[in-house]
Amino acid sequence: MPKAPAETYQSTVRKPDDFHAFWEAVLREAAAVPLEPEVIPDPLRTSEDVEVFQVFYTSLDQVRVAAWYCRPVHRVERTPAVMVLPGYQMDPPIPKEWARKGYAALSVAPRGKLRSNRQFNPGYPNLLTYNIVDRHTYAYRGFYVDTWRGIDFLLARPEVDPARLGVTGSSQGGGLTITTAAMRSEVRAASAGAPYLCGFADAVELTHTYPYEEINDYLRLHPERRAEVEETLAYFDGVNFADRISCPIIVNIGLQDNVCPPETGYALFERIGSADKHLYPYDGHGHDAGRARHTAVVDRFFARHLLGREVSQ
């Protein structure tokens, strides 16, 4: 039987009644934690056009979060900024290329990532199922907040224009882009690629590749915990955050994505609240989600919304 088109897939994701109350409580808890930013010049990584800094700030549970911060050497007094969010297994990159395009750029290593794993280190694989039966201690509760606190860091920088903040990432970085754009109204433009952490329950049925396979591994060993797992994941599903997004947003997906099924990308996009949203589905592409072609689209998008200029094709 031929496969149904991905765009017709009916997601099973349901939002808990107290979803927003849960996250408002988390935000209140986080707001009580002083950011205590440290900004340390990194002369080894600094070049003639880009200044590079190692950054640390405090997040939920007093976890110290690392990040890379880059800014153009030659910049205007108030510079637009982009926060770059990492994939599941990748080491957060030094975002020099964003600084070369004229942005201040922060690349966050949420808890458990290299350089942020002294106090919390569930490992890879394992992050996805760490305390997955309890939304109050699930790994991604703090992990999400760590990325949202990156916005606080940027807002505290005197060289950053607080009215011109963007967020971007692919895979897990795409999922984190969704949650950040939803929870931080200061975000003025967002670009999410191949979003992970969106449609968990659907994804584990649609594909059997890591990292989603971690959940199937867990349920195979602990089938009696399925209801608790599903309950927890509903609070962390990007699909359930999406209706809070009001800024301009673009989403790119690969129709042969073997990691984050395209069905979940369509389901996410349909739920995004912003009136200014655009989906770029790339046929013949997997988890790259058409990156080679789409990079120019992202550049034009941020240039228009953050730099205030049109970039030619």
């Binding site: 002369p43 080894l44 990584r45 070049s47 599941y88 297994q89 990748m90 080491d91 990159p93 030094i94 020099k96 290329e97 070369r100 290299l114 350089r115 490992g123 890879y124 694989p125 649609l206 594909t207 059997h208 590749t209 890591y210 990292p211 396979e213 591994d217 867990y218 195979r220 060993l221 690969g254 129709l255 042969q256 994505d257 073997n258 990691v259 099924p261 395209p262 013949g284 592409h285 997997g286 988890h287 790259d288 058409g290 990156r291 080679a292 072609r293």
Partner: protein
């Protein structure tokens, strides 16, 4: 620059592998029920490498009567160790023995040394004798040696798949019958790094910019690692995964490497699609290993 002579490079590696041979692997193998399925059993493996340094790997054995073809994944250039590469169908483990190794500094092998990314590529690079990749190459060799001790492995179908370390491991010890290699670190590095601003090669640029007096020493160390010098010792059938046309490591750029390999070579140029590139590699490995129904072990979204 005073380049090391081919004899000096040979001696460097003979000494390295000779030193490795002094340390028995002493494997400890532990069942990991969380990642075991009806079609494959997963084990955590600890074993000793040069140093001595204790490494970690994931060994997956298919259910049923072997021997099975095997895929060895030597250390990647990232902190995370995967059981199988992200996006690979878990069902790959039903048909192949797989062994993924964390080199020194990577997760699960990060005590006492935790590597930084970026940073690893230039760790100790001003002296070939203490360059961190001397140990990581030894780790890669040790991993292949370990895999070949397993009775479940069909020694006629052993694929080594990864970046530069796949090719270097296959050149440095016997046993690899096939290689899938995507050069990224050690092909004409000193010459190509200044042509890019992208990591990981940007690490070399950062280092030389910061320590210009060490530039010659860096070139000298890198000369011990150039893939072209390893290639004549690779008799295995090789799939050389090149970058897309026009990129730094495209098929034309890698031509000298392809020509230097002793065994049959297939050069594949990236089509800038992880789907098309990944599918080609999976089908190539399956064909080489006489796995007829590769479709059944592909990710769902790659099947026809």
């Amino acid at each position: 620059m005073i380049e090391p002579t081919p004899a000096a490079v040979r001696e460097y590696w003979q000494e390295t592998l000779g030193a490795l041979a002094h340390y028995p692997a002493r494997p400890e193998i532990e069942l990991l029920p969380l990642r075991s399925t009806t079609f494959a059993t997963l084990f955590g493996v600890r074993l000793t490498s040069l140093g001595p340094y204790r490494l970690f790997g994931y060994l997956s054995i298919p259910t049923g009567a072997g021997p099975f073809p095997a895929i060895y994944y030597p250390p990647k250039y990232q902190s995370v160790l995967e059981i199988i590469p992200q996006g690979t169908a878990n069902l790959q483990r039903s048909r192949y023995v797989t062994f993924a190794l964390a080199g020194r500094g990577q997760r699960n092998a990060d005590t006492p040394y935790a590597a930084m990314f970026p940073g690893l590529l230039t760790e100790g690079i001003d002296r070939a004798a203490s360059y961190v990749f001397r140990g990581i190459v030894a780790d890669s060799v040790r991993g292949l040696e370990f895999l070949l001790t397993r009775a479940e492995v069909d020694p006629a179908r052993v694929v080594v798949a990864g970046n530069d370390l796949a090719l270097i491991a296959a050149a440095s010890t016997a046993g690899a019958t096939h290689v899938v290699t995507t050069p990224a670190l050690f092909y004409k590095t000193a010459e190509l790094a200044p042509k890019t601003q992208a990591y990981p090669l940007e690490e070399i640029n950062d280092y030389v910019r910061t320590y210009p007096a060490r530039a010659e020493a860096v070139r000298r160390t890198l000369a011990h690692y150039d893939l072209v010098s390893f290639a004549p010792r690779v008799a295995a059938a090789t799939l050389l995964m090149a970058g897309a046309p026009g990129t730094l490591l495209d098929g034309a750029a890698l031509q000298p490497l392809a020509a230097a390999l002793r065994g049959p070579v297939t050069v594949y140029e990236s089509r800038q699609s992880l789907y098309k590139d990944g599918l080609y590699a999976e089908q190539w490995m399956a064909a080489q290993c006489d796995i007829a129904d590769v479709e059944s072990i592909l990710p769902e979204h790659w099947r026809g």
